[in-house]
Symmetry: C2
Subunit: 234 residues, 2 copies
DNA sequence: TAATGATTCGAACGAACGTTCGGTAACCTC
DNA sequence: GAGGTTACCGAACGTTCGTTCGAATCATTA
């Protein structure tokens, strides 16, 4: 799901005194109001610009230019530049988790579930490169309340992955540090935004398979390479 | 080697009309001039601030405060804020490559050499966290000439790693994509700056061993997990 | 000691920043 | 078509930005 198709803003936190969702009645599928659809387009353009110039380096004037809207007009849709980043990150994170949980529902076997985690991550990552780079690169840009909220979602995602890996460890009777495995895996799959080139590299599915193999072989195989008992080492 | 101990500025590109190294004669070990030592301290403080706030988010006034020098006084030592980032990145990159080549000199066996690569990277990374985060995080911040130069060094480092892995592949008669292996490995070891906590995590040496094991088992073990011929998969 | 260059500074420059305000146009409801 | 809300904009606000300039201080050497 791209940022353009974003769901409506939750009514919990009204914006500028504006109540949450609007235009409920009337048309058949009028779940998203005009407001919500326009906001989603703005978030999409904002993700593009934050991706290109970084959050600090991008200006609201850049966004106004890209979105074809006046500088002042932007503030009808969100409170501040910080709010903008927050909305992008929250939506992106929530969507990738939601999709993951959907896919994990009917998956059996720890190894298979880890594979699904990687595949889901890479598929969404490569299909939404810009928003995912903003999520990944502007990792600790947000401060205070908004920052804490994003960090909580991040911990939730981390925890899902950790649980999957510990299930795998239990199921196969292995020994490895869950924390190190999770973070090593995250490194592999998050680093992609720095190098992936669709004209050179595999597509998401193939990439997920390769990375899954690389990672799972590393985790699954016995630790016979311990230096002290190795005989082939100098 | 930390940024404070940085070598003298190369004479090739004088600064503000200033010639390169000075104060050659006189004292015994006067390799670094006063200028060079002061510049190195400034780069150290700058790395700290760029690390904390990001390049765009950090201001020259922040640096002037941290370094205890007036805003105008800073410009005696470098041309611009961009030059500052360039000097940090170049020195950090050159140093890590230099150290690597030193260590690779007396290393035999492809596997052992890959282990040395990882160990060197992690040791330097964790001993110089701030400069390495600036190198890693502000990856494509520099543009034009300075950016091209840093990118060239990066390619050089990448190439060293790729060659090591392809030696390994040849020596062990394996089959894997060098590009994917290099970038997967870089992901694992560069991602560290986002999570490593010295009070919780292993030190550099132990971390290098764990990551080497994880990565090497993943690369070395046969690809029996191919889905099409696997029998245990659904 | 005079002279020379290295080093540092206060003050200011113009530009760009995020945000706000008052007003206008468009839209929807009655 | 009147009235009220929503959407949008031009212009400006006050602040901060990177950088520069001329002068003052310091160290070194002639």
């Amino acid at each position: 799901m791209a940022l353009q198709d974003m769901e409506t803003r939750l009514p919990g936190e009204p914006h500028n005194g504006r109540k949450g969702r609007t235009s409920i009645q009337g048309g058949d599928e009028a779940v998203d109001s005009r407001f919500d659809r326009r906001l989603a387009k703005l978030l999409y353009h904002a993700a593009h610009i934050f991706c290109e110039k970084g959050y600090e380096g991008a200006s609201m004037r850049d966004l106004s230019r890209a979105a074809g809207m006046s500088l002042a007009g932007l503030y009808h849709y969100f409170d501040s530049k910080e709010d903008l980043l927050y909305l992008i990150q929250k939506h992106t994170f929530r969507t990738i988790i939601e999709r993951l949980q959907e896919r994990l529902k009917d998956a059996k076997g720890a190894e298979q579930r880890v594979r699904i985690f990687i595949e889901n991550h890479l598929e969404y990552f490569l299909a939404n490169k810009e928003a995912m780079k903003v999520l990944t690169h502007e990792d600790d840009t947000l401060k205070n309340g908004r920052g804490a909220e994003i960090r909580a979602i991040k911990r939730e995602y981390y925890k899902i992955c950790l649980d999957l890996l510990e299930d795998l460890r239990r199921e196969k009777g292995l020994q490895f540090s869950g924390r190190l495995a999770v973070l090593g895996l995250f490194g592999m799959i998050n680093w992609i935004y720095t190098w992936h080139n669709p004209r050179v590299d595999l597509d998401a599915g193939a990439m997920a398979e390769e990375m899954s193999n690389l990672f799972l072989r590393g985790v699954l195989n016995p630790g016979k390479t311990k230096r002290k008992i190795a005989k082939t080492n100098a």
